[in-house]
Every structure is written in C-alpha cells, then in structure tokens.
C-alpha cells in the first residue's frame, strides 16, 4: 500500500512537471533595466519583446506586421492614422486603448531619461481620434514612420501613473505573451505565460532567462542540459557543441568596420605631422590590404560574412552592384607609394576587447595584414566602457566599430555614420571619423523625406556609392553571424534582430 502510494505520488509529480513546460534560456548578457524606454540595447530589447507589444513589429523575416495596431496608413504627407486592436488587456487586467498610446508616446519622446528620443525626433505629436484610433503627425514627410514604431513598447497609463521610475524598471506590466514574475539581477529573470494573450496561448508556461556571461559557463550549461538554448556560442567552442546539440547560425544585422580620421591635418595617433588618412589612396590601400577572407576563416572560424557595404542584404537599401574588393597587397603598396608613403607609416588602432565577437583578435589580424604593406599598426584594445567615450570624443585616428541596423533600413547607418556631423539636425551622431561630403549629405537628407519608396531606394544607393566607392569613408570588414545552440526539445528559428522572442518558439 505504501509502495503504491509512493509510486502514485512520483507519477503525479512526473506528469505534473512535464505539463508545466519551462523553457530555460542561457543568455550572454542580461537586460540592463526592464523599463522599455531607458536604453536601446539588444539584450534589453530581446527580454522586453516577450513582455511588451509594439504597435507595429518585425516578423521573423523582418517584414513589418501588425502588433497592437491592426492597420496604419498615411492620410497625407505628414499624418499617419493607426487603428488599434480591440479587446486587448494588460497583464494587470487594465484594457488597452488610445490613451495608453498617447501616454506611451509622450513618455517615449519627452521623458528625460528616455534613450529613444532620437527614434521619434521626426514625429511631432499623436492625437486620439476615438478610443481605438490615433493619428500621428510628423515634422515633414517621413517614410520611416512604421519602422520607428517598432521601438515603442506600449505601457499602461493607469499602472504607470503612480509608480516611481525605479519601480517601473523592475516591475514591468505590458500586453505581451509573457507576464513578468521575478528578476534576480545577475542571475535569473522569470516570466509566466499570458493565457489571455491576443495572438494565442504561448507554448511555454514559464520562461527563465539565465544570465551566463562567461563563455565557458554558457557552453557548459547547454552541454549539461541545464538550459535549453544559449545564444552567442563562442566560435572556438562550436565543435564541442555541434556533436550533441543543434547548432544554428543566422547572419545578423551588425556590420564590423574600420573608421579613419578624415579631416584633421594632424591626427593624434599617427606618427608624423601629416594625416595619411586624408588621402583617398591611403584609405583605398587599406581596403585592398586587409585579408578579410582569412580573418573570417581563421579568427571567426568561418562564422561571419565578408562585408562589401554598409548593410547586409536583408536591409532595405542594399545595393547588389557594390562588391567587396579582393585582397590585393601589391595594389595596396602601389596606392601607398603613389600617395607618398612607399615605406608606410605608423598608427594606433583603437579597438574594444569585450564588445564584438573576437574584437581584439580581429584588430590584431588587421595589424598583421597592414604590416605586409608596411603600415605599422599598434593595437590599443580596451574594455568598451573606456573605448566608446574615447572614440566618441574623436580621441582616435583609426578605430574598429560595429553598427547594428535594427531599423532594417539603410538610413540607419547613412544618417548616423555617413552624413556630416551636425548636432542641430541630429545627423552624423556616430560619424567619429568626421567624413563629410555635401553631395552625400544632400542625398541622405532628400531620401529621408522621400515617401516614394522606389525613388528613396535610388537616393540611398547613390549616397552609399559615393561615400563608399568614391570616397572610401570607412573600411567594411564583415557582418557578424549570430550563433545559437539548442537541444532537441524545442523548435527554434533565430531572428535577424537577435531577439529571443519566445512566442515564436515551441515544444517538440
């Protein structure tokens, strides 16, 4: 009798646990905050995409699809009417309606700590037409409006009205497929299924994000089945993971590139008085001298894609006609000799050592490549906390950067990194090399207000062609590839924006 009871108990426990499906995710970095408006950062957005909805969202193929909006259309050049989904409730039971959109937009655009102000700087205001219709007004013609809406996660006006920012940063309430349960910073973040989710019942009852920042620990966790999936599999460990787990790679949106100091006659980290980077032939020589195929093959273990332009081909604005030049040290030497540097020059290459995949090793391989054409490069690698302030203040002559095009539109890079630095207009914010060409500026500004998508594409392609091919404003290196490992219990398809959106995953 006792034995039977024990068996039954075990059976109940076993059945019970197998029905309460939990998904354990081992992530390389955890969310910085759970307030969706503080910082535009991949790990934070990835986590929050499970808790909050946006009006418009990108589907797995990076096409715009309805979220909390059911439809949107341009009424004229500068107004957009957005119809809202009816019958949606927040996790606390409050209904979702136009007031929440108005509140969210105001907080998104005007809250002093918002990290997304730049995303909506061209959107003037939003007005309520009725409880489920809102009308946005832009400052000028703004073809990017629907894409920018993918950043604005909708918060509950009533819930937020009497909470401190600190409380909102740790107790998020959204309309998304998963409900926040608890967050132990630096360890785990737990979510429960939202059974009343408007797009259907999520396939997991519980999702746990485990912060496993150490590469070896993360790999060990997937190998021992402590987690079901890990992101950012270290390229050196792929063969260990491949044997027993599913391994998948997905070309990402991040371009790794080299930036050079264009305008200064006396650049701080170049030996000699004259700045060699001011000469187009030197910039071109560097492009020819870098053996990117070998960097991809040996440093990235093949898990990167050599880049020939500002964005990968899934991005609107990609140009089929621009190809990467082939590695040609002889031509590079000739170009350097023509420019008056037959014996090269010395320069410091600044690079982060904890930001991009194998960043420091890439910088060293570049130094080795350039040594073959007599350019002596000293690599100065440092943690990102010291690196970005240094590069953003132009305290560098030559540096390595990454740009993730989360808009899925070429304007992202063109506006921020190619257009001349112009604080008033909000252009060239990350153009640390201070490249400037009035013709390129004109094309970019024109494309930003062009509603006709065909003409817009032409303008953006032309801007890229001049900046990259004629002026060699930057040296593209490669597009990063996202690497995931997961076990046989889950169906998983990686997203191009690197988000772990659990609603798209399911049990096998």
């Amino acid at each position: 009798m006792k034995k039977l009871f024990l068996t039954l108990t075990l059976l109940v426990l076993f059945v019970g646990s197998s029905f309460a499906a939990t998904l354990n995710l081992g992530v390389a970095s955890e969310a910085i905050t759970l307030d969706p408006y503080v910082q535009n950062e991949t790990a934070t957005s990835s986590t929050l995409s499970n808790i909050f909805d946006t009006l418009i969202r990108f589907d797995a193929d990076y096409q715009l699809v309805p979220g909390l909006a059911t439809s949107w259309k341009a009424l004229d050049n500068i107004t957009w009417e957005v119809k809202l989904r009816k019958g949606v409730t927040f996790h606390n039971g409050n209904p979702f309606n136009a007031d929440d959109v108005l509140f969210s937009f105001d907080r998104f655009k005007n809250w002093e700590r918002s990290g997304f102000k730049g995303k909506v700087s061209s959107i003037e205001k939003v007005e309520k037409k009725d409880a489920y219709t809102v009308v946005f007004t832009t400052k000028g013609p703004y073809p990017l409006f629907p894409r920018k809406m993918t950043y604005m996660r909708i918060m509950d006006q009533e819930y937020c009205s009497d909470k401190t920012p600190e409380h909102l940063g740790t107790h998020p309430v959204g309309t998304g497929p998963y409900i926040f349960d608890k967050w132990i910073k630096g360890a785990t973040l737990t979510l429960n299924a939202n059974a009343k989710y408007w797009a259907g019942v999520p396939s997991y009852d519980r999702v746990v994000f485990k912060a496993l920042t150490n590469d070896s620990t993360r790999v060990a966790a997937i190998l021992s089945n402590e987690v079901d999936l890990i992101n950012r599999v270290p390229v050196k460990d792929i063969n260990r993971v491949k044997g027993s787990k599913n391994f998948i790679q997905k070309p990402g949106l991040r371009l790794i590139y080299l930036q050079m100091d264009h305008p200064r006659a006396d650049s701080p980290y170049v030996t000699g008085k004259i700045n060699p980077f001011a000469d187009i032939r030197v910039r071109r020589a560097i492009y020819y001298a870098i053996n990117e195929d070998n960097i991809v093959k040996y440093i990235m273990n093949g898990f990167a894609e050599p880049a020939g332009q500002f964005q990968p081909n899934v991005v609107f604005g990609y140009d089929d006609s621009i190809k990467r030049v082939s590695h040609d040290p002889a031509k590079a030497k000739q170009l350097l000799a023509d420019a008056g540097y037959p014996d090269g020059f010395e320069v410091v290459l600044d690079a982060p050592n904890n930001r991009y995949i194998n960043d420091e090793q890439i910088a060293q391989a570049i130094a080795s490549s350039l040594a073959k054409v007599k350019i002596k490069v000293k690599v100065n690698a440092m943690p990102k906390s010291a690196y970005f302030p240094k590069v953003n203040s132009s305290d560098s002559s030559f540096n390595m950067l990454g740009w993730s095009n989360s808009d899925g539109d070429a304007s992202s890079f063109l506006d921020a990194c190619v257009h001349s630095y112009d604080q008033d207009k909000g252009y060239g914010r990350y153009n640390g090399g201070r490249y400037s060409n009035p013709e390129v500026d004109r094309l970019i500004e024109e494309s930003d207000v062009m509603i006709d998508q065909v003409k817009r594409l032409e303008l953006m392609k032309k801007a890229q062609k001049i900046a990259l091919q004629d002026d060699q404003n930057i040296i593209p290196l490669h597009y990063q590839v996202d690497l995931y490992a997961y076990n046989n219990k889950i169906n998983f398809k990686p997203r191009i924006d690197s988000h772990l959106y659990v609603f798209e995953m399911s049990q096998k």
């Binding site: 070896s216 260990r240 040996y298 690599v379």
Partner: protein, 284 residues
C-alpha cells in the same frame, strides 16, 4: 679555481638540486638575453605572422604550436621570458634598494621615524600583495615600467622589515658602538659598517622574492592588468592561451605555464640553498 675557494660558493655547489637550479636558470637567462638569435620567429614582427598558420598543433612545423594569429609559441615564450625576468629582477633590485634604505634608517634612528616607516609597512602588509598591485595597475594602466614600479611598491616592505630587525641587533654590537665613539657620522656607520653585515639575509630573501615578483607579474598579466598585449610576458601568454584552452588548443597555455613553473622552481632551489649556506645557525 679561485672561484671555488670561497667557502660559501663551494658549499653552495655541494647540493645537486641547487646546481640543477643554477643550470636551468642560466639556460633561461640565456634564452631571455638572446631571443633574436635563438627563436625561429620574431613574434613582435607582424610582417612574419600569417593567419594561415593559425592554431597549428605542436611538434610539427611549429615545435610548440602556434596561436590564433599564427605566432610561434616557442618564440613567444623566449621573448616572454625576457619580459618576465626583466620585471622580476628589476623590481627586486629596486625594492631591495628602497627597502634597505628604509630599514636602515628605521632601525638605526628608531623613535618617530621608525614608527612611521614601520606602520606604513604594517598597513601595507595587512592587504594581500595582489590586491595592492591590482589597485596600482588599475589606476595607472598597463606598461612594463608601471608594473615594475607596482611590484616594487608591494615588495619593498619585506626588505625594510628584515633590514630593520638586523640593524636593531647590529647597531648595539661593539664594532658599531666603537665607530660611533670614534666620531663617525651616522650615514657612514649605517652604510660602511652596518650594511655589509646585514646583506646575507637580504640576499637570501631577494632571491626567493624574485620568483615571487615573477609570479605576481604573471598573475597581473593573466588578469589583463599587467604588461600590454604587444609585449607579452609568460603570464599574458598563459592568459591568451587560456581563452581557447577548452576548445582543444591546449598548447598556448600549457607550454608557457611549464616554463614559468620551471623558472620559479629553479630560482627557489637557488634561494633555498643560499639560505642554508649563508645562515650560520644551520651550520654543523
């Protein structure tokens, strides 16, 4: 063989292990002094590195394998030895100088000077050496000279304390007292009379602490706070190799580790023997 007529030297060489230590140490010194002649490749010369040679296994084209950038590990070890030994020896000489002077002054004059110097030493010794060095390196940033100074700051206290202890007993001895009675000034008594008599324990400690300084430097470099990546010491070589140790490329960490271990053992063997032969109390 006049060299061996010296009693201490001849006694030193009676011990087989100590002799082995001396030979290993001399071998490493030789490698460190002439790496350009002995090494197959100059690991600093980027023109000689090719990515095609990335992660070649040992005992083939590269005797001890190659790293990610196609750098020969054997050559990197020879150049790394040079940095490690330089840091170890330079910082020891500097800390002996500072420690001796501080200890002499402290022990000879006593009083308030003694109190101040020794309390500074006490405070510093209450922190782990690695912590003090970490703080200094975090504030200053990387660099070979900086790490020498950081290790000096950590190590001078050991010599200061020892010197002070010996001075306290030596200054009461007849020769010191008679020098004082003859009207010699304090500086002369300290450096001409007392100093030669306290050198034996200092030399013994210094030998052992060279090994300690080398390990401290390797630890700092392993933690990424030591010498810059362009001038790799044994510690930074181990650290670089460690990043890929679990991916099957074991040679990058293991070989520099073995060399570091042998180097420290050889110095310790020499130091232990020196302590035995220089300490009269241990003599039969």
């Amino acid at each position: 063989m006049k060299f061996f007529e010296n009693e201490i030297v001849s006694e030193f060489f009676e011990d087989k292990l100590a002799v082995a230590g001396v030979f290993i140490f001399i071998f490493f010194m030789f490698c460190a002094l002439f790496p350009a002649v002995l090494s197959p490749q100059n690991p600093y010369d980027l023109e000689q590195l090719f990515l095609e040679n990335s992660f070649k296994a040992p005992f083939g084209e590269f005797l001890l394998g190659s790293d990610e950038q196609g750098r020969d590990i054997l050559s990197a070890i020879m150049y790394g030895l040079r940095i490690s030994l330089y840091v170890g020896i330079a910082s020891t000489i500097l800390s002996v100088l500072i420690g001796l002077i501080a200890g002499l002054i402290s022990g000879y004059f006593g009083g308030i000077v003694d109190t101040i110097i020794m309390r500074i030493a006490d405070i510093q010794l209450s922190f782990p050496a690695i912590l003090v060095a970490l703080i200094i390196m975090a504030l200053w940033g990387q660099g070979v000279t900086k790490i020498v100074i950081a290790i000096t700051i950590v190590n001078w206290v050991y010599y200061a304390r020892t010197a002070r202890g010996v001075v306290l007993s030596e200054k009461e001895k007849d020769y010191a007292q008679s020098a004082k009675a003859l009207g010699m000034n304090s500086v002369s008594i300290m450096f001409k009379e007392i100093l030669p008599n306290i050198m034996a324990p200092i030399i013994v400690i210094a030998t052992v602490r060279i090994a300690n300084a080398i390990i401290l430097e390797a630890t700092l470099s392993f933690l990424g706070l030591g010498v810059p990546i362009t001038e790799p010491s044994l510690g930074s070589l181990i650290s670089n190799g460690y990043q890929v140790l679990f991916s099957g490329y074991w040679w990058g960490s293991v070989f520099p580790g073995i060399v570091l271990m042998l180097l420290v053992i050889s110095i310790n063997l020499i130091g232990d023997r020196l302590r035995d032969v220089m300490n009269p109390r241990l003599k039969r």
